[in-house]
C-alpha cells in the first residue's frame, strides 16, 4: 500500500517518510526504556544469584563480573543440611496455606451475605470494611502481643495462623464480593427450588463459578503470608516455629561477614515465591484488573 501511494502521489512522500522515521525512533526508544526499567528490577536478583555461586576470593574482586569463574554451591549445601532453613520453609507454607483457608472460609460466606441480602446499614458496613483495612497494622503489634498471651495464641503455630487468617478478612470480603456479585442470582434461585441449603448453594454453585477470583485472591494472600515478618517476629519465640523470613533474619542478624550465605539465604526466600507467582500470574493479572481497582 505504501508503495502504491508513493507511485501515485510523489508529493506526499517526503513527510510520510519523516513520519515513519519518527515512529521508528519512538518505537526503539520506548522499547529501550522498557528494557532498562525491567533491568532495574531484575538485575539485583540476578546479581544476588551470581554472588551466591561465586568462590569467596572472587566476590571482593573488581571489576564486577556476573558469570562466576567457577560455580560453587557449597553455601546452598550448608543451608539445606546444617541450618534449620528447610524447617522454616515448611512453617511458612503451613502458615500461608492455613491462614488462606481460614480467610477464604470466613470472607466467602460474608461476601455472599453482603452480596445476596439487602438490609439497613449495608452500605455503611461496606464502607467500614473498606476503611478498616487502611488502619495501621503496625500499631496493632503491642496489644496483639498481649492479647495473644491471654487467648493462648502466643508462641503457637495455630495462633499465628489464626492471626494471619483473621486480619486478612476485610480485604478478602471486599475483593470476593465483586466476584460473588457477578454470579447471576438465577443460579441460586433454581438451586434453592431444588431444596439446596444456602451454604450448599454458596460452596457448590457460587464458589465453583468464581474460581478465577478465588485463585487471584489465593495468590495475593499466599504471597503476603509467605513474606510476613512483623507479626511473626513478635508472636513467636520458639525458633522451631519461625517462618522463613524471621528464621532467615535471625540466622543472619546484623552480621555481614558471610556475604555468600546472606545472598544464598535471600534467594532461598525469593525463588519459591517467584516461581509460584510466575506460574500463576495470569490468574492474578486478570483478577486484579477485575477486582481490586474497580473496588
Amino acid at each position: 500500500m505504501a508503495l502504491a501511494s508513493r507511485q501515485s502521489q510523489p508529493a506526499v512522500e517526503q513527510p510520510r517518510r519523516r513520519f515513519r522515521v519518527a515512529r521508528w525512533t519512538s518505537f526503539t526508544l520506548t522499547h529501550l526504556l522498557a528494557i532498562g526499567a525491567s533491568l532495574v528490577f531484575v538485575y539485583p536478583v540476578i546479581w544476588l544469584l551470581s554472588a551466591s555461586l561465586k568462590p569467596n576470593w572472587e566476590i571482593y574482586r573488581a571489576p564486577l563480573k556476573l558469570i562466576p569463574s567457577e560455580v560453587q554451591i557449597d553455601v546452598y549445601r550448608e543451608i539445606f543440611s546444617t541450618t534449620p532453613i528447610p524447617a522454616y520453609m515448611l512453617n511458612s507454607v503451613i502458615y500461608a496455606v492455613g491462614s488462606l483457608l481460614i480467610t477464604l472460609f470466613f470472607a466467602l460466606i460474608a461476601a455472599y451475605g453482603l452480596s445476596r441480602y439487602q438490609f439497613r446499614g449495608k452500605n455503611t458496613l461496606l464502607i467500614l470494611i473498606l476503611t478498616v483495612q487502611l488502619l495501621p497494622g503496625l500499631v496493632r503489634l503491642i496489644p496483639l502481643y498481649l492479647l495473644s498471651q491471654t487467648l493462648g495464641l502466643y508462641d503457637s503455630r495455630f495462633g499465628i495462623t489464626l492471626i494471619y487468617g483473621a486480619i486478612a478478612i476485610p480485604f478478602a470480603i471486599w475483593f470476593l464480593k465483586s466476584y460473588v456479585d457477578s454470579v447471576p442470582r438465577e443460579l441460586d434461585e433454581s438451586a434453592a427450588i431444588d431444596g439446596a441449603s444456602r451454604l450448599r448453594i454458596l460452596f457448590q454453585i457460587v464458589a465453583p463459578t468464581i474460581i478465577p477470583g478465588l485463585a487471584a485472591f489465593a495468590i495475593l494472600n499466599f504471597i503476603q503470608g509467605w513474606n510476613e515478618f512483623q507479626l511473626a517476629s513478635v508472636m513467636l519465640r520458639n525458633p522451631n516455629y519461625y517462618p522463613l523470613t524471621v528464621g532467615t533474619y535471625n540466622l543472619i542478624g546484623p552480621d555481614e561477614s558471610n556475604f555468600r550465605l546472606i545472598a544464598a539465604a535471600s534467594l532461598v526466600n525469593i525463588v519459591p515465591i517467584l516461581v509460584v507467582f510466575s506460574v500463576l500470574q495470569r490468574y492474578l493479572v486478570s483478577g486484579l484488573a477485575a477486582g481490586s481497582v474497580k473496588g
Partner: protein, 313 residues
Amino acid sequence: MNHMSATRNGVHSKPQRNPLERFVSSPWAFILPGLVLYGIIGLYPLFSQFYFALTDMQIATINDANFVGLRNFTDLARDPQTREVIGFTVIFVAFSVPLQFLCGFGLALLLNQNLIGRLAYRLAALTPWVISSVIIGLMWRLLLHESNAGAINAMLNALNLPTVAWFSDPITARVSVIFVNVWRSVAFTMVFMLGGLQTLPKDVLEAATVDGANAWQKLIRIKLPMLKTIAGLNLIYISIATFQVMETILVLTQGGPGRATSTLGYRMYELAFTPFSPGFLGRSAALGVILFVIISVFALTYMRMFLLQKDAS
C-alpha cells in the same frame, strides 16, 4: 437493583419461628462470623493501644504495669530523639511517596503501550512486589555494601568514581533507605495505575488521535483529568503504607547512624521488640497512638474520596 428486593425475604421463605432460626436465615449469620473474628484480632487491639499508651508497661514486667496518665507523651515530647525521628519521618514520606507515585505512574504509562514482550516487562517490574521486605533489605545491604563486593560500588568503581560507604553517613544512609523503599514499592503504584489506565474509554482517546492530539496532549488533557481520583486514592494509600515501613529500615540501617534513618514506625517497633531496647511497651504504644492519629486522617480522606467517586459514577 430490583433483584435485591426479591431476596429480601430470603430465597427460601420458610415460616420463621424462634430467634435462632430467624438468625440463621438472616444475612448476619453469614456476615457476623468473619466480622467478629476480625473484630477480636484486628480491631480491638488497635483501640486498646490507647489504654496501653497510658501505662508504664515493659516486657519484663507486663503484669506490674501502672497507670501513669500522659507521662509517656510528655517523656516523648521532652526526648530530643523524638524530634529527630519525626523530622526523618517527614523527610521519608515527603520523598518516598511522590517518587514512588511518579515512577509507578510513568511505568504504567510506558507498559500500557503496545510493546513487543509487554508481559515480560510487566512481570519484571513486579519482581520486588513479590519479595518480602526483610529479604529486600538483606539483598540491598549486599548491593550497597561499602566494599567492592557491593554491586553499586563495583559499578562506581568501573566508572572511575569514588566508592561510597552508604550506611555510615547520615545523608547517604537516608538516600539509601528512601531509594530501597521506592524500589520496593513502585510496582504497587504501577499495578494500581495500569488498572486505572485500562478503564479509560478507548473511543475518547481515538477521537483525540484523529483530531491530531499528540501523546503529551492526550496525557495532560485527557488521561490525567480522568485518572485524578484514582491517582488521589493511590497517593493516600501509599502514604499510609510509607508511614508504617519498618522492616526495610530494621535490616538496612537499624535506624542509624545515630537516629538519622529512624521513622516513627520503625522507632515504635524498636522500642518494644528489638534487643536494642529494654522493651518499653508503654512508650512504644504512645508512639503508636501518634501514628494512629496521623494515619486516621489519611484513611478518612481516602474514605471521602472513595464515596465522592462512587457518587459521581
